[in-house]
Amino acid sequence: MADITRRLNDIDPPVPLLEGGHDYETLTDRISEIVDTKPHPKLWLILFLPASLGVMLLLIALTKLFVVGVGIWGIRIPVGWGWDIINFVWWIGIGHAGTLISAILLLFMQDWRTSINRFAEAMTLFAVMCAGMYPIIHMGRPWVAYFILPYPNSMALWPQFRSPLAWDVFAISTYFSVSLLFWYTGLVPDFATMRDRAKNKFARYVFAIASLGWRGSARHWSRYEMAYLLLAGLSTPLVVSVHSIISFDFAVGIIPGWHTTIFPPYFVAGAVYAGFAMVLILAIPIRHLYNLKDIITMKHIDLMAIVMLVTGLVVFYGYIMEAFFAWYSNSFWERAMLVHRSMGYYAWSYWALIFCNGLVPQFLWFKKVRQSTFWLFVISIIVSIGMWLERYVIIVTSLARDFLPTAWGNYHGTKWDVMTFIGTIGFFTFMFLLFVRFIPMISSFELKMLLEKNKHKGQAH
C-alpha cells in the first residue's frame, strides 16, 4: 500500500546543512581565505569607520560621566534605574544566543550549530563586554567598583549576599570567563590551521602562540573533545542562570510590575529571543558580504527563525500572564500598574512593545517569511527594538509609579544616555568587525567533521 504513495522525501525533501559539494580542502580555503589571502570587501571599511566613531562617542560620554557624575543621565528618584540598566539587560540578553548555540545545541547533537557557533560565541563575548560596562559606570564611582567583590579588607566591608545585585557580579563574571574559555578552546585547532597557512612571518608567529602548540595528534583531539564537552556542560546552566539572576534583580523586590514569579523563565526566553535576532542581524549580511551562502544555508536561517518564533511566543505568554494576573490578583497596586502601563504616560512604549515582540514575530509562522532574508532581517531588527522596549517598560513604568503618589515622577533619557548606548553599539560593531577580519569566523574543522558525518549518513540527518 505504502509503495504506491509518494515518499516523504519527495513531498518534503531534506535540505542539506552544507551545500556546494565541498571537500576538506575547499572548506579550509573558503573559511581561511577570508582572513589570510583574499582582499577584504570594501564594505568592511565602510562599516568600520562609523563603528570607530561609535567607540569615540562612547569614550566622550564616559569621560563626561566620570568628570561630572551620573547626574548627566536622566535618572532621579523615583526612577533610579534608567537607560543604563535597560542597556545592561539588553546587551546581556543578546549574549545568550551564542551560549545556547554553542553549548546546548552541542549537547543536543544539533549539527546545524556548526556553521554559526563561532561568530555567535564572539557575539556573546562582545555583548557581555558591553553589558558589563553598565553596572560599573552606573555606580557613579567606578574607581571603587572592586568593593562589590567579596574579599577580606581592613574596612570590614562585605557585599550584601542576600541581594541579587551581588549575585549578578558572580553570574556575569562566571559567564564571561566560561564563554571566553569555550570560544577560545574551539578556536585552537583553527588557529593551528591559520598558522600552517600563514605566509607572513608575523602572522605565523601570532597564530602559533594562539594555537598553543597544536599539532593535531590523536591525543590532542581526544583531550580537545573532552575539554569541549565539559565546557559545554559548564556553559549550559549559565544560559539559564545568568538571566534568571538578572530577573531576580527585579522580581525579589515588591514593586508592582517587578514582583512576579514568571520573570525567570520569561527573562531567559527573552534573552534567547533577542540573541537569535542579533545572530540573524549579523548572519544575514555576513553570508552576503563574504558569499558564504553554501555554508550558512537557508536551512540555518530557517531554524534560527523557528527558535526566534518559539522564544517569542514564550515572551508573549509572559506579557499575557503579567496582564491577566495583574487583573486576577485583585490587588489595587497590581491593577494600577496594568492601567498605568497600558493607558498611562508610557502607554506608547507598552503598545510598541506588544507590536514589536508579540505581533510582528507571528509572521515567522509562515515559511515564506522564514525563507526571505530581507524580511527576516527586518523582523530581527524590530525584535531587537522590542526587546529594548521590554526592559524600558519593565524598569521605567514600574518605577515611575510606585506606592506613594506624591513621589511619582516621569523619566526620560538624556543625550548622554543616548550617546552611551550608541557608543556601546559602536564598540560591539568595532569588535565584531575586527573579529571577522582577523579570526576565522566559522569553525572549519567542525564543518569538516560534519562533512565526514554526512558522507556516511547520506542525506539523512
Partner: protein
C-alpha cells in the same frame, strides 16, 4: 514487519492489576468518605483528578512535541503517548462530579460553600472584585467556571482526536502528506495547550486559595505533566520493549535519550518551583506568603523537605550518571521514583489548600488521598492499556521513523550507513 496481532501479556497483566487497584481504591475512598464526610471525599478526588488528568495532558503535549522534533526515541513511545492522550475522554467524565456536585465542597468562593474553608470572607471579596468586563459576571462564577472547563476539554479533545485520527489514517493509507498535517496541528496545538492549561490550573488549583496568585503557576503544571509523562513512558516501554514490534528496533540509546529528557525536566521543575519560592519569600507580601505558610506546618513540612530531596537532589544526581540512563533496570527504577515524586508534588500543591498548615490533616485524610489517587489511577491505567492495545504499538507507515530506523522501504539504504550512525 511491525504488524502484531496478539496482545502483549505483560500489558494485560498490568491491566488486570490496575483494575483491582482501581476498584479497591474507590471502595476504600467511598468507605472512608462515609466516616470523614463528602467534603473530604471531594478534596481527595480533586487531587486525584488533577494528577491523572495532568498525565493525560502530559501525553498530549509530549505527543505534539514529538511530532515537532521527530526524534527516533519519540516513535518508540508515540503509541504510549497517544493512548495516554485518548484518556482525556475518560478524564472529561471524571471532572463532571466536581463540576456538578463538588464545587461547593472545594472552592471557598462559591456563594454557599459547604465546609468551613479558610478565608471565605476574603474569597467572597475577591469574587466581587473579579468582574469580567463585557460579560459582567465574576470570574469566580460557578457557571462561568463550568463553561471554561468545557472549553478546555473541547480544545484538548479536539487536538487529541485530530492527532490520533491522523495517526490511524497514516497507518492505514501510508499517505505521507499527513506528516505535514501532524506538524501544523502540533505547532498550533502546543500554543493552545499552554494557554488552556494555564487557565485550567488557575481555575482548578489556584482558586482553591483565592487570595493567592502566581504568574508561573501554569508552567509549574505544564512541566510537571511532562515529567510524569516521561516516567510513564519509560515504565510502559519497559513492558513492551522485548516483544514485537519493538524488539527488533529498540536501542539502549532511546532509553538514554528519554532518561536525559527526564533529567532536564527534573531540573526544569526545580527551576520553576524554586523561582516561585524565592520570589514569593523575598517579597513576603501578605497576599502571597500564606500559600507557603500553609505548606510549612506539621505533615506538610515533611512533604516539603521530601520534595526537595526526592524530587530534585537525589534524582538529579542519580540520573546524571550515564550508566543509570543506559541500564534498563536503573532507568525503570528512576521512572517509578519520579512518578511517586510527581504524586507528592501535586499533593503538595493541592491538598494543603484544604488543611492550611496541616491542621486537621490526619491519617484518615491521608488514606483518602492515597485511595483516591490509586482508585482513579487504577481505572486510568485500565483505560490506558485498553487504548494502547487497540492499535499497533509502533506507527506503521511513518517515513520519518522508517527512514531513521532503516526499515520498510528504507531497509537497503540503511545497511551501508548502519555502522556509522552514532
Amino acid at each position: 514487519m511491525l504488524q502484531h496481532t496478539e496482545q502483549n501479556p505483560r500489558l494485560l497483566a498490568l491491566q488486570r492489576k490496575a483494575l483491582i487497584v482501581g476498584v479497591a481504591g474507590i471502595a476504600v475512598l467511598l468507605g472512608t468518605s462515609l466516616m470523614a464526610g463528602i467534603d473530604n471525599f471531594f478534596q481527595s478526588y480533586l487531587y486525584a483528578f488533577i494528577f491523572w488528568n495532568g498525565l493525560a495532558l502530559g501525553c498530549l503535549s509530549a505527543l505534539m512535541l514529538h511530532h515537532m522534533v521527530a526524534g527516533r526515541w519519540g516513535f518508540m513511545i508515540q503509541r504510549i503517548l497517544e493512548a495516554g492522550a485518548r484518556n482525556l475522554l475518560f478524564t472529561a467524565v471524571l471532572i463532571l462530579p466536581i463540576l456538578f456536585v463538588g464545587m461547593k465542597y472545594l472552592y471557598p468562593w462559591v456563594p454557599e460553600p459547604f465546609a468551613e474553608l479558610h478565608g471565605i470572607a476574603a474569597a467572597k471579596h475577591k469574587a466581587e472584585g473579579l468582574m469580567v468586563p463585557v460579560l459582567n459576571i465574576s470570574w469566580y462564577n460557578q457557571w462561568f467556571f463550568m463553561v471554561r472547563a468545557a472549553i478546555y476539554f473541547a480544545v484538548w479533545i479536539f487536538l487529541m482526536l485530530r492527532l490520533t485520527g491522523l495517526s490511524h489514517k497514516l497507518d492505514q493509507t501510508g499517505d505521507q502528506t499527513i506528516i505535514g498535517r501532524f506538524r501544523t496541528t502540533s505547532a498550533q496545538g502546543l500554543v493552545m495547550y499552554v494557554i488552556t492549561m494555564t487557565f485550567a490550573a488557575c481555575d482548578w488549583g489556584m482558586s482553591l486559595e483565592p487570595e493567592w496568585f502566581s504568574t508561573i503557576y501554569g508552567p509549574l503544571y505544564i512541566v510537571g505533566q511532562g515529567l510524569g509523562t516521561l516516567a510513564l513512558s519509560v515504565i510502559i516501554l519497559n513492558k513492551i520493549a522485548d516483544d514485537k514490534p519493538h524488539a527488533p528496533v529498540i536501542k539502549t540509546d532511546y532509553f538514554h535519550h528519554i532518561g536525559s529528557l527526564m533529567t532536564g525536566f527534573v531540573v526544569l521543575w526545580t527551576y520553576i518551583q524554586f523561582s516561585q519560592f524565592l520570589i514569593t519569600y523575598s517579597g513576603n507580601l501578605p497576599e502571597e506568603i500564606p500559600w507557603y505558610i500553609h505548606r510549612q506546618g506539621n505533615f506538610f513540612a515533611i512533604i516539603s523537605v521530601l520534595l526537595m530531596i526526592f524530587h530534585f537532589f537525589l534524582p538529579l544526581f542519580i540520573l546524571l550518571q550515564r550508566r543509570v540512563k543506559r541500564a534498563r533496570r536503573g532507568l525503570l527504577l528512576m521512572a517509578k521514583w519520579i512518578l511517586i515524586a510527581r504524586f507528592t508534588d501535586v499533593f503538595w500543591i493541592i491538598v494543603p489548600a484544604f488543611h492550611p498548615n496541616g491542621e486537621g490533616y490526619g491519617p484518615v485524610a491521608f488514606i483518602m488521598s492515597v485511595a483516591a489517587l490509586a482508585g482513579v489511577g487504577g481505572f486510568w491505567v485500565f483505560m490506558f492499556v485498553r487504548n494502547l492495545n487497540k492499535y499497533p504499538l509502533l506507527p506503521l507507515n511513518d517515513d520519518r521513523m522508517n527512514e531513521s530506523l532503516g526499515i520498510g522501504p528504507f531497509a537497503a539504504h540503511h545497511q551501508e550507513a548502519a555502522e556509522h550512525v552514532v
